[in-house]
């Protein structure tokens, strides 16, 4: 752990070359993932999923059904892992916690007036404390993008630090909503602010807008994590969310993770996929690898 922490001037965060970072990100997609590497990768990706439902229409029943799925991804394939966590609104934390019992699947709750974050700080803190008191293991907060664009980095920093304090023992994921940040330079700057302010995870998106996670954006954030690790010795976890719905893309993300941060990040403590439909696509691919034929989507759970 870091003994003394000096807070850098975030306006001096490194610049990112757009052409270069997109070129590098596309290079990972050239890796050919076959046979046992593919099966291991798919199982690992399943185990990294934060299975998510964040709808106004969420009911107790829907959340319970999702919690069941988290533990029984596809019973026709024995020995599958569970997903990493269920991600819900604070009002659903208690239901999810009870439904998951001692399965080991974590409960993550969005908070701080998700997804816009346009609420006073005390509301955000209460939102967070409520979710934690209901039993949330992880909190997914959003940063104040408006303040960030106005250059009020200290405001953004202090808010993250305050929410981190309200989290207690829960791990804090800081959502940058990169689709609203506009440039890679700003993604990098926001990543640096979040990590120095106490984030346990940095996360790309709410999933409520497009573009959500992309490979170049995730690469910028992984490189920020690497630089932070070399500077401070502290590991930060990464969560791309939204827009990752196919197995092949998930494998490309894992290749990228493996080549940027190395094998110590290749587990669900340090990396998550925020996704809802990805799990079924991976299950279809795993069944294809096992049986040699693709099966109809009707043989898998609906959501």
């Amino acid at each position: 752990m870091v003994a003394t922490k000096t807070i850098p001037d975030f306006s001096l965060s490194p610049h990112i070359d757009q052409v270069g970072v997109e070129e590098r990100a596309s290079r990972f997609t050239k890796r050919s993932i076959k046979n046992e590497t593919k099966i291991n990768g798919l199982k690992l990706a399943l185990n990294m999923i934060d299975l998510t439902t964040l709808e106004g229409k969420d009911t107790d029943g829907k959340v319970k059904q999702l919690c069941y799925k988290a533990q029984h991804l596809h019973d026709a394939y024995p020995g599958l892992p569970t997903v990493a966590a269920i991600c819900v609104y604070p009002s659903m934390v208690k239901v999810a916690k009870k439904a998951l019992g001692d399965s080991g699947v974590k409960v993550a709750s969005v908070s701080t007036a998700f997804p816009s974050g346009q609420a006073p700080r005390d509301v955000k803190i209460r939102d967070t404390k409520f979710a934690v008191s209901e039993g949330a293991d992880e909190i997914d907060m959003v940063i104040s993008r408006g303040k960030f664009h106005m250059g009020e980095y200290n405001f953004v920093f202090d808010e993250i630090a305050a929410v981190k304090e309200a989290c207690g023992n829960a791990r804090l994921k800081v959502i940058l909503e990169t689709g609203e940040l506009g440039t890679y330079d700003k993604v990098r700057r926001a990543s640096d602010i979040a990590m120095y302010a106490g984030a346990d995870f940095i996360k790309t998106s709410t999933g409520k807008m497009s573009p959500a996670a992309t490979m170049p954006v995730t690469l910028v954030m992984l490189e920020a994590i690497r630089d932070f690790y070399y500077k401070t010795g502290k590991r930060i976890a990464m969560k791309p969310a939204g827009g990752i719905s196919k197995s092949k893309l998930a494998l490309h993300y894992l290749v990228m993770l493996n080549e940027v941060l190395g094998e110590e990040w290749m587990n669900n403590h340090w990396f998550r996929f925020g996704a809802s439909s990805l799990a079924n696509d991976i299950l279809m691919q795993l069944m294809k690898q096992k049986t040699g034929v693709y099966q109809s989507a009707d043989y898998f759970s609906l959501d």
């Binding site: 052409v19 190395g262 094998e263």
Partner: protein, 390 residues
Amino acid sequence: MATKNNTIKLKFDSSRNLAPAPESKSAAKINERYDLFINGKFEKPLSKKYFATINPATEEKLSEVAEANAADVNKAVEAARNAYEKTWKKTSPKERAKYIYRIARMVQEKARELAIIETLDGGKPIRESRDFDVPTAANHFFYYAGWADKLEYAFPNRTAQPLGVAGQIIPWNFPLLMAAWKIAPALATGNTVVLKPAETTSLTALKLAEIIQEADLPPGVVNIITGAGDTGAAIVNHPDINKIAFTGSTNVGKIIQRAIAGTNKKATLELGGKAANIIFDDAPLDQAVEGVINGIFFNQGHVCCAGSRLYVQESVFKTVVQKLKDRMESLIVGDPLDKNTDIGAINSKEQLEVINKYLGIGQKEGAEMYQSTCAIPKKVSFAGQLFLPM
């Protein structure tokens, strides 16, 4: 900062250990023996000599190709002269374009086979021959085909004229691409060609000869003859050649320059260098590092403009070196035919010896050498080195 940075190290072993993903050799047809492509036909060499061409990754013999002597060169130049005077000079620009477009499309159609042969014969990773060499070669033919009927209008008050017979000598680093680079503009501008590929990498040029034959290009417009330095010298010194185009070493370039001094031959010489990268502290460092990696490790560094020198501003020196080392760790060295290989085989045993000689000199002069911790395949290959200043 309280933390000692030298205790922190990322681990990349698993990123290199992917299941094999080999491209299949059987998708490429290689004859046991190749003759000289002269006047639209494959002809036995007057020299009666052949030499072996090997796969540098396995040191297995792939095929044998004819060794053209001065008499063979003369035969090829005569064919080219004849074709120039009787046919090609009089062919209309849009007719010429038609043939070049046809060659371009056929290169695309046979892209997979060409890529596999390029990798087998030269040792470069299949990812590069598949995604760079072959598609770019096809693009060159497409591009120059488009020029043929526009030359008339391109230079106001001037009329572009063909020179006649072009003698073209190309290197072993991008065998097919260099052939395209030389042949396509010569044809578009109305010249005929005698081309000699490098002796270690003749096969894709000979495949291109098959394509040219199949494309029904008038006989003698393109002649492809194989051989080593003596064959090249016979081309350079042949009196009936109007233009020499050469890509290769600076040394040979100088020899050519001297040989054609005082003659009417025109020349294009594209030679090598030791290109420099310069990184200042306000650069986007991760992307700069990627630029360095692509600059020096693309095609095992067998590139005329490979970025083999690196200047870094002192204030970011440590960071850049750290990032370079990490990036080098994630490069995959291995079977060139595997789709995941980043660094394949050195083009030939002779070239490997040259590289090792320079590595020895660098160490003797006191530079600190850093190499990736990855395992090196037994045969002709290397892992890439980073030399740090004394």
